[in-house]
């Protein structure tokens, strides 16, 4: 029986998840790196042969999380964004995006569609809504003054059922 939530970084659960590939990278939280993050996730996801729609969904979801770190997390500071990607044997993609920014005081409120703390910057308040709509599961943890971590899971269409050596 599968555990309810899949923790990236938990070795026991990862073994259970049968991770067949992983990629970890860190990028400075600058808006020009939104495109870089998208390219990296696309390159990693390519190994799982996603559909055009799935790839589009993943790129959008990742970009929302990365943008949140840049616009909100590091609003008054500088820092890095850590991204961990995992692909499991049954074609599930796990994406963890972490920052050490200012953190979110009320995660539930922040995840309310159209709620934004930056309306003057033309933020639509839809970042979490996009992440939720385009992935199968979304988990957000945050501590004020410490940072925010977003974990998303997306099951990709299993076309061939082949696995790498």
């Amino acid at each position: 029986m599968r555990p309810k939530s899949y923790e990236i970084g938990d070795k026991k659960q990862e073994a259970f998840m049968k991770v067949i590939n992983t990629m970890k990278f860190t990028i400075p939280a600058m808006s020009r790196n939104e495109a870089l993050a998208r390219s990296c996730i696309a390159a990693f996801a390519a190994g799982a042969d996603p559909t055009v729609e799935e790839l589009s969904d993943i790129r959008s979801a990742v970009c929302e999380a990365v943008t949140n770190s840049i616009v909100h997390g590091y609003r008054d500071s500088k820092g890095d964004i850590s991204i961990t990607l995992k692909l499991t044997e049954d074609n599930c993609l796990y994406i963890k995006i972490s920052d050490k920014g200012c953190g979110i005081p009320d995660v539930k409120k922040a995840m309310t569609p159209l709620y934004t703390t930056a309306p003057e910057e033309e933020r639509a308040g839809l970042g979490f809504a996009v992440m939720e709509a385009f992935t199968d599961s979304l988990k957000v943890t945050s501590r004020v003054g410490k940072g925010t971590t977003v974990i998303m899971k997306k099951r990709l269409t299993n076309k061939f059922g082949d696995s790498d050596e």
């Binding site: 495109a35 589009s56 943008t67 033309e122 639509a124 839809l126």
Partner: protein, 105 residues
């Protein structure tokens, strides 16, 4: 991303080409607003046919231009979004801004 603005008869067409994210939306905003302020067209058509990527920053761009246009009695419409751009536009509840394909402007 590339922004090209074509002037019509009391309307403008904004042709967006490339990836529309938070980074590129900022520059696009400046370019479009300069023309809106200069021309105050009744209609601002945003052509999304060349937009290969979009996230909610694109929604922010649309909403911001809509507010600006409405401030002088104008309006914004969206033309030719890709299936993926349309997905986000619908999520934002802005599908009424999408011009039906049959309309020729």
């Amino acid at each position: 991303m590339n922004v090209e603005i074509i002037k019509g008869d009391n309307y403008i067409t904004v042709i967006l080409e490339g990836e529309l994210d938070h980074h590129s939306a900022a520059a696009a905003r400046e370019i479009i607003d300069a023309r809106l302020e200069q021309l105050t067209p009744k209609l601002c058509i945003m052509d999304f046919s060349g937009v290969s990527f979009m996230d909610s920053s694109g929604i922010g761009l649309i909403l911001g231009r809509k507010r600006r246009a409405e401030s002088y009695g104008g309006n914004v419409k969206i033309k030719n979004p890709s299936r993926y751009a349309e997905k986000i536009i619908k999520l934002a509840g802005l599908q009424s801004l999408i011009l039906p394909e049959k309309i020729k402007i």
